[in-house]
Point group: D2
């Protein structure tokens, strides 16, 4: 695991050609001042999962983020942040992943579209 | 300062109606496994600065992120991450900020567009 | 139908609270110089369908686009452009739609995420 | 000029390595049902200008859109749509352009970020 993923507490549950899933426990370290989970956490989880899953699916080739788009729909304040993504495009040079971010009650809280470049 | 901003080390240099600026020192805690600064850091800095600056400009009204778009242009591996943003739109219900992310050599490394909802 | 939708030939197949679908026949009028369907057509279809469907679902309240994000995955050069979308978020002030754009062979050619403001 | 650009009336004013500019006269053909300029027009102008300018700057190499992000800030209802963009990144494989869309009174009406792939 990389230093940043450890810092905010990402647990990777699946990372392969068909899906990527992970979870982050909510504590003060991932909250913004008003007590909500910071939106940067959603983009961070998606990038970590998408690059790991793409790389794993391609026998370890390097995958790095190219762009990321997040829409915040509902705040998360406690419990855990759950991320589940699937590749919508697996091209020679880019993969595009879409992630649903949900809370413990399985309510949709954010959407992240992540484009990854394969090297 | 909120817990997450402290965790990854955001230093806010300016946060007002005309501009927002901040810096994060690069260490293992903000790097992904290959040694680059994790892209989630850019989105995180932009959201923290945009919401603080919007709130400060509006006498403390609450501002929360609605959407965020990041394009990664050049990796940062050492030194510091510098973020400088300005509001491109200051509406009644939403503000739109654009941030340039640069490295110590003032090279453009990422672009972030951040839409904030004013409550 | 509005003037622009007629101009490029949008046919609306469904526009309601659960889904939105439409189709555009490919001709020179929607192509860019190299013969591919112009990417602006995908964003146009998504905005037209999302605003119509949101408005229809809300008894005619006005819905206007707030932001739009398109990822181009595979070119379309002939046949028709098929768009199918569903609302991922139905809030008091904003709805967020995601559209898949496909060709006649049902291959995924573009993704559009469209945020609509309800007035 | 390609068929679609003619259809909606794009006039290209500049398309080179340093800038891209264009204008579209507002008429019923670019309006949505409520009388506003359709948001798809902004994405269309940006894609046409960015791909033409990138190609012109690279001695005719082919440039095609990869992704596009538009934020709608203020409606345009009459006069003309003015687009002015500059390349924020000129990489080997991708160029990233940012466009300001303004009305006849020079008010900022939309922002478009356009990523172009160079072939």
């Amino acid at each position: 695991m990389g230093g940043y993923d450890e810092l905010y507490g990402l647990e990777v549950l699946a990372a392969g050609a068909e899906e990527a899933r992970g979870v982050v426990a909510v504590g003060d370290g991932v909250r913004q001042p008003a007590g909500l989970v910071h939106g940067g956490i959603y983009a961070s989880i998606a990038e970590s999962l998408a690059t790991r899953a793409t790389s794993a699916a391609l026998d370890g080739r390097v995958a790095v983020g190219q762009s990321s788009q997040t829409s915040f729909l509902r705040p998360i304040t406690e419990g855990a942040v759950h991320a589940a993504g699937r590749p919508r495009h697996r091209g020679r040079s880019t993969w595009v992943w879409e992630f649903d971010i949900t809370d413990d009650a399985e309510r949709l809280c954010a959407l992240v579209r992540m484009t990854v470049v394969v090297r």
